[in-house]
Symmetry: C2
Subunit: 121 residues, 2 copies
DNA sequence: TCTATAAATAACTATATGGTTATGTAGTTA
DNA sequence: TAACTACATAACCATATAGTTATTTATAGA
């Protein structure tokens, strides 16, 4: 994405914005093992039907999922295999941060580090 | 991220939210070739100082960048090498979508497909 | 046709956020 | 100390968005 123009950056930001909501992540997580209809997603995410429909339309608009009407039901599935990679990378980053924080905390407890102007390093 | 609890999903969503803004993506892009201070980022992103500072604090809070004060200046750098991977994956998805749309358009123009109840497939 | 069911959408409220202007604050230099 | 610089932050406004309730639309079945 090195030399992206402003319009492209806006499109990229739109995709991230669609992912920037815990309940939508929960919906995407529910689609890991295959397509689901709205009713199924409602119970899986413990939300209301209107709310899930709204989130689904956001994800659809962003191109992250695909819709297929079947009878009175509407089935949704992931549009792109690589979407979960995004989440995995973020999780990896967070895990790394948590580990670093933990290690720091342990060093502090062992008195090997100091905060502020207490003890020298 | 398969079995993430709600708190973890919120953390992941926060990271995506920090990325969900064109100007912040522009800032991150400007940090590709190394650390920059605020003044440099202001001119690179063609924004105001207050605005850049605000966006930087969002990115900092999300753990995407790191800050280092040096004299009266504040230098920022990427906190995690894998962040650009996120953007690359999204760009790849968008590119794929664009190609699919283009191919479809070409088929339509060649009369090999039809929309609605006009011609049979 | 009438009814029931599934999903989408409209209307509304509360809250969050981006941008701006003005001000505060810390470090540097004269 | 005073003045200057770089950055952060507060206050404000306009807009966007998540959630809810109520309604609409479309399909299936009696």
């Amino acid at each position: 994405m090195e030399g992206l123009n402003d319009a492209a950056l806006i499109r990229v930001a739109e995709v991230f914005k669609a992912l920037a909501e815990p309940r939508r992540l929960k919906i995407l997580n529910s689609l890991r093992d295959g397509q689901k209809n709205v009713s199924e997603l409602v119970s899986l995410t413990e939300s209301t039907q209107a709310n899930v429909s709204k989130h689904l339309s956001v994800l659809l608009q962003a191109g992250l999922i695909q819709r297929e009407a079947r009878g009175t039901a509407a089935y949704y599935r992931m549009a792109n295999d690589s979407t979960y990679q995004l989440c995995d990378i973020v999780c990896g980053q967070l895990l790394k941060q948590a580990e670093t924080a933990l290690a720091l905390q342990q060093l502090l407890q062992q008195g090997q580090l100091s905060v502020g102007s207490d003890k020298p390093v």
